[in-house]
Structures are given as structure tokens and as C-alpha cells.
């Protein structure tokens, strides 16, 4: 029975010339945006790899100098783009990619692509994710808004009811019919995504790609259910359509902007000037309750104890003590930087959580967060990169200061190290976190998407039971 209903629905939808045109347009848009995303992702990956090689070469070829001078010279690292950025660039364009790693400073990544965008940036970009998250739901609405109301208007719903078919069966059949039509649109896209992933080769996380699929399917199932509810309850197909377009524009256009306005009010961020001033102040005086001198002294004590020079400062060669002092100072500065930068990143993360929680009102916000999380293009992944880079920076500076301490000897500040030492520093590696990590960071969005799924289908079942046969 359900099969028959589904076949009939599908045949009707496929035979509708206008729907065929719209579906063809969506497929075309999907393929075009994916092709563009592919080109972009390949170019970005090549560019950043080349830049990283150049930066590494600049570091190794910096010439002979004092190790601490080299620590000032520092090294640049570039953020590798997200694993599935070709599908969903997420918030990557709004995040910096260049990070300068040097002594006495913890900087924030800079050179976000958004800084160089034309004034059209406000319209957003046309990525495969945009098509999948914004346009496909409209296609579903176009496919399904007449599912109940159309039958009622044509008078066929009464006939159907007379045949004794159960509302649940009808609902399921119609859902399968719409899904079948949708599959005709999405299968080419899924195949293309797989193809691009293959072409991009290594670095693509297949498990992430595989996890995106059920995510999007859940999202579409929500839209199908909402469409059916509106169709069953509305007085006419026309009213159903108007209500559904209203639902779409509120959840996909209005709420994201309202959430974007609310986030800074919930978790305000300091102005760049205020942030810089607070860091500068604490570098001079120390964090509240931990004066600078005390902390530097404590770090120096720990270092000396570890190296077995405790209480023998006066017997140590000058350069050795100076090297340890430099390192103790660096350790103090790192405390200050970590305190301020982590607080800043925490506030940004809170802002991001506001948009995730707003998914309670909009399934679009749920899939948007989940999709960019799985694509590795959300703020959590950006932060993971920053954390790794900072760890690397601290280790690099420590290694250089300790080389100065151990090897400067009588030369003191005139001591010069060379290529050997620079080359000994390991290359910066950033392995993107795994699938489980990405899911955990989007647990709110994931849970809310599932809640939408359950509620929407419960409502669809409920309205199907009580659908008015005659308008």
C-alpha cells in the first residue's frame, strides 16, 4: 500500500514540468558551487603549503644570530583549510590564517579573507552548503506544500479516505514519494562530493563526509515533516505555501541575524584597544594577585631546581643564569597571554554557543553549525589550531632560550647559533581533531536537530490522523 502511494506521488512530482525545471536548477547550482569550491580549496591548500615551505625556509636560512634574537625573529605558520572546506567553507573566511610565532608575544591569527571582500560580501557566498541548507528546503516546500491540501482541493482526499487507507500509511507513502524526488536531486550532488573528495586526495576525512550525510538527511526530514504539517492544517494550498515560505524566511533569514545580534550582547568582547591595553598592563605588573616579580622568581626557582642549580646562582656562569632568566620571564609572560587570550577565546566560544542554542528556534541554524563543524571550518577547529600553534611557540622559545643558557658560555650576548640549531626545531604540524571531537563540540546543535526531527515527525503523524478530508 505504502509503496503504491509513494510511486504515485513520485510519478506526479516527476511529471510536473515546473518542478523538473526547479530541480534541474538546484542540481546545476549544487554542481557549479561544488566545482567552484573545489577550485578554491585546491588553490588555498597549494598556496598555504607553498607559503609554509617558504616560511620554514626563511626560518632555517635566517643566518647566524643569537638564539634569543632568533626567537624575536620568529616564524610564521599558516592555518591549513578545513577538511571539507570545498563543501562548506563555514566561518573560515572570517577567521585569520596567518599566525606569527615569536618571543614575548602571543598574537591572534590575521589576514582573514573577509577583509578583502567586495561589498557583495553581505549577501553571503554561494557554496554547496548554501545550496544544501537554504535552497533545497525551498525545493522540498515546492514539492510538498500541496501534499494534503492539494488532494483536499481536488476532492481526491475524500475518495482516498473511502478506500480505507490509514492516514499513517498515506503520510509515509507521501514522505517516501517526496524523498524519492529529492534523492534524484541529491544523488548527483553526493556523487560529485565524493568525486571531489577523491580528487583532492589525502587530507580529506572520509568519516566526516560520511557523517555529513545523515546530518543533512535529518535536516531534510524535518523540513518534509514541517511541510506536511502546514499542508494538512492550512485552509488551502495557497495558505500552506505562504505559511511555509514564511517559516523558511524566519528560520533561514531572520533568526540567524537576530542570533548574530544577540551573541555579542550575551557574551561581549573587549575592543581591540581595551584588550591590548589589558595585556600590556598585566605584562608590566603581573596578573591580579600574582605580581610580576613573584611569578618570575618562582619560575626561575623551578627551573634552577630542575637543572640542579638551586641556591647556586652565584656560582653559575653569567650566560647560563641569563638564559634561565629569559626563560623564566617567558614563562611569566605566557601565563599573562594565556589568561587574556583564553578568556577572549572563551567569550568568542560563548558567542558561538548562542548561535547553536538559537537552533532551538531554527533547524537551519542546527544544520549550519553541524555542517561547518563536520567540515572542520568552525570556530572550535580554529581554536584547536591556535592552541597547537601556541604550544609550538612556547616550546620553540624555550628551546632557543635554553640553547642560549647552555651554550653561550663566556660569549654571552655575543654568542651566535646557526643553521644547525634552526633546523633542529621540528616543523609545525597541526593534525585536525577527529570526528568524535567535532561532534562533541557541536553536541548542542546535534541534540537540537534530533529534537526537531522527533517533534516535527510527531506533529506530522498527529496532523495526519486528524486531517480534514473536506475543506
Amino acid at each position: 500500500m505504502i509503496g503504491i502511494i509513494a510511486r504515485k506521488e513520485l510519478r506526479e512530482l516527476v511529471r510536473d514540468g515546473r518542478l523538473r525545471l526547479v530541480a534541474a536548477l538546484v542540481v546545476l547550482l549544487l554542481l557549479a558551487s561544488m566545482a567552484f569550491g573545489w577550485r578554491q580549496a585546491a588553490a588555498v591548500a597549494a598556496e598555504r603549503e607553498a607559503a609554509q615551505r617558504t616560511a620554514d625556509a626563511l626560518w632555517v636560512d635566517q643566518g647566524d644570530k643569537n638564539p634569543h634574537v632568533a626567537a624575536h625573529y620568529g616564524k610564521h605558520v599558516f592555518k591549513p583549510s578545513g577538511a571539507l572546506a570545498f563543501l562548506d567553507p563555514g566561518v573560515d573566511p572570517y577567521l585569520g590564517v596567518t599566525l606569527e610565532l615569536a618571543a614575548h608575544q602571543r598574537t591572534l591569527p590575521r589576514d582573514a579573507a573577509a577583509g578583502d571582500a567586495s561589498s557583495l560580501a553581505r549577501f553571503g557566498t554561494l557554496s554547496a552548503a548554501t545550496v544544501l541548507q537554504l535552497f533545497v528546503p525551498l525545493l522540498i516546500i515546492a514539492l510538498g506544500f500541496g501534499a494534503w491540501s492539494g488532494e483536499r482541493e481536488r476532492g481526491t482526499l475524500r475518495q482516498l479516505a473511502a478506500t480505507g487507507v490509514r492516514p499513517r500509511q498515506l503520510l509515509l507513502g507521501k514522505a517516501i514519494g517526496v524523498s524519492g524526488a529529492l534523492a534524484l536531486v541529491l544523488l548527483p550532488a553526493a556523487a560529485a562530493a565524493g568525486g571531489v573528495a577523491l580528487a583532492l586526495g589525502e587530507g580529506v576525512a572520509w568519516s566526516r563526509l560520511a557523517a555529513l550525510l545523515p546530518g543533512y538527511l535529518a535536516y531534510y526530514a524535518v523540513i518534509v515533516a514541517v511541510t506536511f504539517v502546514a499542508s494538512a492544517r492550512a485552509r488551502s494550498s495557497r495558505a500552506a505555501l505562504v505559511a511555509l515560505v514564511g517559516f523558511w524566511s524566519v528560520t533561514c533569514l531572520v533568526l540567524p541575524r537576530l542570533a548574530s545580534d544577540a551573541a555579542p550582547r550575551v557574551a561581549p568582547l573587549p575592543s581591540p584597544d581595551a584588550f591590548a591595553a589589558a595585556v600590556k598592563r598585566d605584562l608590566e605588573t603581573g596578573l591580579p594577585g600574582a605580581p610580576r616579580e613573584d611569578r618570575v622568581e618562582a619560575h626561575l626557582g623551578t627551573l634552577l631546581e630542575r637543572e640542579g642549580f638551586e641556591g647556586a646562582e652565584n656560582l653559575m656562569p653569567d650566560a647560563l643564569l641569563q638564559g634561565f632568566e629569559l626563560q623564566a620571564e617567558a614563562a611569566f609572560e605566557d601565563e599573562v597571554f594565556d589568561h587574556h587570550v583564553e578568556a577572549l577565546l572563551d567569550a568568542i566560544a560563548r558567542q558561538e554557543r548562542v548561535s547553536q542554542w538559537a537552533a532551538a528556534l531554527s533547524p537551519y541554524l542546527a544544520i549550519r553549525a553541524l555542517s561547518s563543524g563536520l567540515a572542520g571550518t568552525d570556530f572550535a577547529h580554529h581554536r584547536a589550531f591556535q592552541t597547537d600553534a601556541e604550544r609550538y611557540r612556547q616550546a620553540l622559545v624555550r628551546a632557543l632560550n635554553e640553547d642560549f643558557a647552555r651554550n653561550a658560555g663566556d660569549e654571552g650576548w655575543r654568542y651566535r647559533a646557526g643553521r644547525d640549531l634552526w633546523a633542529r626545531a621540528p616543523a609545525f604540524e597541526h593534525a585536525p581533531p577527529g570526528l568524535g571531537w567535532a561532534l562533541r563540540h557541536n553536541a548542542v546543535a546535534l541534540t537540537l536537530l534530533l529534537a526537531w526531527l522527533l517533534l516535527a515527525w510527531a506533529a506530522a503523524g498527529f496532523t495526519a490522523q486528524r486531517v480534514k478530508v473536506v475543506g
Partner: protein, 473 residues
């Protein structure tokens, strides 16, 4: 007769609860957008003013310190000498310059959060290393979605309201069976449609002017000036032209004689294509035609240029304990020369950057006619002064000012001449020269033609369709 149709339709609309809801919703959105736009424009204004005053205050402090020393006070520590032009120029003092917000800045946030509001100018190269404060501290998801400003409400939501009011202009009458009845009266179909559209156009036009005007009056700052008045007038003209386009589109689609659900689908499809899909595609085309050079490569380029001047630079930075072999003055002159050399090396690349961005904007200026949404959005950001044209103008002026500022200090460093209180008093200040309002009006006006010409064409196109529908009814 026409007036009777308008009056009857007016009464019908008043009786419709849905229409009240729609207007109520639009009013709420406009009110929120006005409040939000005003508060973010005010915050921006306050932040830039504070930053500029902070640097002015530091310069005044330096000058006071110098006067105290000259009056016989204790000398300043070596690293804080207010008479040393190299030190003061390199960062002890700075001139902060800002792009002043226009009276109508609350209309559209535009690219405001993508550009630093304040630029600090020292003798350091501004090209190689973006100064601190360039990194906008804002959550990326917020930046991505964009703010809920008036431009968003009018560009995206106003057409939806118009669609909701007009998709069943004729089809609704036919479906209810009232069209034949109406046409049996002594009224032509053209008059009937014209009357119905006119009534809705008057309502939407009136609501737009009242809401948009009210929002601007509440959120603007200094609208009384001649500039403010011109900008406000252009803003209202742009919105009315945009509404006219969507009315014309609705009449054209109604004239095809399809069902009201079919009309709604077609109009929503058109809206989706023009407001959501096309701008995204145009953006892709623009950025693919004139791709900006890679910032990432610029980093390395600046770096290798700097390391070739490394000999000079390594003399000071990081060599905490090394004794200087030469006089500090000579070192500083050399450092300054190094900065200038660096600037010269990096400048061609940065020029290429700016060139590409300007070329992008020129292409956007041409391609805005592809979609009325782009045309009206460009007009709104232009009027709000948050668009690319004003930003690029600002960049150019800052560059020129920076040149003057550096030359002034460089001259004193090279001559080994210390700064005097009189020098401090004579330091140049930056005033942004805005585009003449005539030029702005010309550019925005051209954009509005991009709305009105298609609207006229659509109306001409609908005449033939209406004749046919008249026969069918």
C-alpha cells in the same frame, strides 16, 4: 472609477487580519533594526573617537613632558625621550585616524566590521605589518550572518511583504469567482488591475516612507546638515524604487493568468534568484575575475624583504645585553631607512592588492544592474557611507597623510634635530575629505535607474498578458 477600485480595495485590505500581521511584523523588524543599527553605529562612533583622542592625549602628554624638561625638570629616561624624533615617530607617539561615520551610518553596517575603524600611524611601514587593532574582535558566526540592519530588512524582507500582498491580485479574484462579476461592471480589466496595484503600492509606499523615514530619524545622527538631507533623500528614493520594481514584477506575473499558488511560487522563485542566488553568483564572478593577491604570500614577501635588511634590524631587537657599537642616533637613522626600504619593496604588491579590489568594485558597479537587490544594496551602503567607495577613498587619503607624517619625522631623524614643543604643536592632523554629494547622488541615481528601467519594462510586458486574461475571464 479608478479611485473607487482603490477605495474598495483599501477597505478589503483593512478587513484582512493577515495584512495587519504582516505590517505589524514589518514595523517590529524595522524598529528593531533601527535600534540595533543606531546602537552599533553609536558604539563604533564612540570607539573610534576614544581611540583618536587617546593618541592625541599621548602626544599632548609628550609635549607637556618636553616643556617640563626644557623648563629645567628632570630628564626623561633614555627610552622615553620626548625630544627624540626617532622614538616618538616609531611609536611613542602616533596619530590615530578614523573614517568618520556619516549621519546615515545606521542604515547599513556594510563592510564596517571587516575594516579597522581606526588606523594608527607611526613611522613604521604600514604596508608590511598590519598594526595592532586590525584584528576585529568579533565572533565569526556573528560576522558571517551579518547584523540585523535596516538594509537587511528592506533588501530581503520588503519584497516578501510585497509578494504576500500581491501574489493573488487577479488569480485570487478568479479563484473566488469574483473576477467575472467585477468585469461585468463598467470597469476595464486594466483599470481594475491598476486600481488594485495602485492601492497596494500606496499602502506599501506609504508604509515604507513612514517606517524607513521614522527609523532614520530615530537612528541617524546629524540629519539636519545638507549632507545628511541629501543622504536621507537618496535612501528613501532607493527604497521606493526597489518597492516599485517588486510591484511591477508582481503585476507582470499576475498578468500571466496562473493560479495564485503558481504566482506565489513564481514570485518566491524570482525573489530567491534575485535576492539570494544571483548576488552570491555575481560575487563569485567578481572575485574570480579580479582575485586579490594572496595575503599569505605577502607575509613571506615582507619577511624576506625584511631579512635582507636584517643586518640593520638585528642590531637592536632582541639583543638585550649587546653593547651598541655606534651612536643610538645613527642606529635609529639606519632603522628608519630600513623601514623605508621595506616599504618600497612591499609597495608594488600592496598596490596590486588595492588595484584588484578597486577593479572588483568597478565590476560590481557594472554588475549591480544584474539584480535589483544588488543595485539597492549598493545604493544603501553608499548612502550609509559603509561601502567600498568611501573605504577606498579613505585608504588613499590615509596613505597620503602617512607619507607626510613619516617625512616630517624622517627629516628630523636624518638631520639629528631634536623635537621641540613647537614641532609638537605643528604636527599635522587628519581630516577626511568626503566625496562631493553630487558624485554620490550621480552614482546612486544611476543605480536607481537599474531598478526603474526593469520595472517599466515589466509593466509594458504585462499589458499584453492582461488583455489575454481579460478575455479568459
Amino acid at each position: 472609477m479608478l479611485w473607487t477600485v482603490v477605495q474598495v480595495e483599501g477597505r478589503n485590505l483593512l478587513a484582512e487580519r493577515g495584512a495587519w500581521w504582516l505590517f505589524g511584523l514589518l514595523t517590529a523588524f524595522v524598529a528593531y533594526a533601527a535600534w540595533s543599527g543606531a546602537s552599533s553605529a553609536a558604539a563604533h562612533r564612540a570607539a573610534t573617537r576614544a581611540a583618536v583622542e587617546e593618541e592625541d592625549r599621548k602626544l599632548a602628554d609628550l609635549r607637556a613632558k618636553l616643556e617640563a624638561i626644557e623648563a629645567g625638570g628632570p630628564a626623561a629616561p633614555h627610552a622615553e625621550d620626548p625630544a627624540d624624533p626617532a622614538l616618538v615617530g616609531a611609536g611613542l607617539g602616533a596619530r590615530a585616524v578614523a573614517l568618520p561615520p556619516t549621519p546615515t551610518a545606521s542604515i547599513a553596517a556594510g563592510q564596517r566590521d571587516a575594516h579597522p575603524g581606526v588606523v594608527r600611524l607611526t613611522t613604521q611601514s604600514r604596508l608590511a605589518e598590519p598594526p595592532r587593532g586590525d584584528v576585529a574582535l568579533r565572533g565569526p558566526t556573528s560576522q558571517r550572518a551579518g547584523p540585523f540592519d535596516l538594509a537587511f530588512v528592506f533588501v530581503y524582507l520588503l519584497p516578501l511583504l510585497i509578494i504576500a500582498l500581491t501574489y493573488d491580485l487577479l488569480a485570487g479574484e478568479r479563484e473566488r469567482g469574483t473576477l467575472a462579476l467585477v468585469l461585468s461592471q463598467p470597469v476595464s480589466l486594466a483599470t481594475f488591475v491598476l486600481g488594485k496595484s495602485l492601492q497596494r503600492a500606496m499602502v506599501v509606499g506609504g508604509a515604507t516612507v513612514v517606517l524607513a523615514g521614522g527609523a532614520l530619524v530615530l537612528s541617524g545622527d546629524g540629519l539636519g546638515s545638507a549632507e545628511g538631507a541629501v543622504r536621507a533623500a537618496l535612501y528613501l528614493a532607493a527604497l521606493l524604487a526597489y518597492a516599485t520594481f517588486w510591484f511591477a514584477a508582481a503585476v507582470a506575473i499576475n498578468s500571466r493568468g496562473r493560479s495564485s499558488a503558481g504566482n506565489a511560487l513564481a514570485l518566491v522563485g524570482l525573489w530567491l534568484a534575485l535576492v539570494v542566488a544571483l548576488p552570491g553568483m555575481v560575487r563569485v564572478v567578481v572575485e574570480a575575475t579580479y582575485p586579490p593577491p594572496s595575503r599569505v604570500e605577502l607575509v613571506n614577501l615582507a619577511r624576506s624583504a625584511a631579512s635582507e635588511i636584517e643586518e640593520e634590524l638585528s642590531g637592536l631587537e632582541g639583543d638585550h645585553g649587546a653593547e651598541a657599537d655606534e651612536s643610538p642616533a645613527a642606529t635609529r637613522a639606519r632603522l628608519l631607512a630600513a623601514q623605508e626600504a621595506l616599504d618600497a619593496r612591499v609597495r608594488p604588491v600592496v598596490e596590486r592588492f588595492r588595484g584588484q579590489l578597486e577593479a572588483q568594485q568597478r565590476l560590481v558597479d557594472r554588475l549591480r544592474f544584474v539584480s535589483p537587490a544588488i543595485a539597492v544594496h549598493e545604493a544603501l551602503v553608499d548612502v550609509a557611507g559603509t561601502g567600498a567607495h568611501r573605504q577606498q577613498r579613505f585608504e588613499a587619503q590615509v596613505d597620503a597623510f602617512h607619507g607626510t607624517w613619516r617625512a616630517l619625522f624622517a627629516e628630523r631623524v636624518k638631520a639629528g634635530r631634536p623635537l621641540t614643543p613647537a614641532d609638537y604643536a605643528a604636527l599635522p592632523t587628519f581630516t577626511f575629505e568626503d566625496e562631493p554629494t553630487g558624485e554620490l547622488a550621480a552614482r546612486v541615481g544611476l543605480g536607481l535607474l537599474g531598478l526603474l528601467v526593469p520595472a517599466a519594462l515589466l509593466l509594458v510586458f504585462s499589458v499584453s498578458g492582461l488583455r489575454r486574461v481579460g478575455r479568459l475571464a
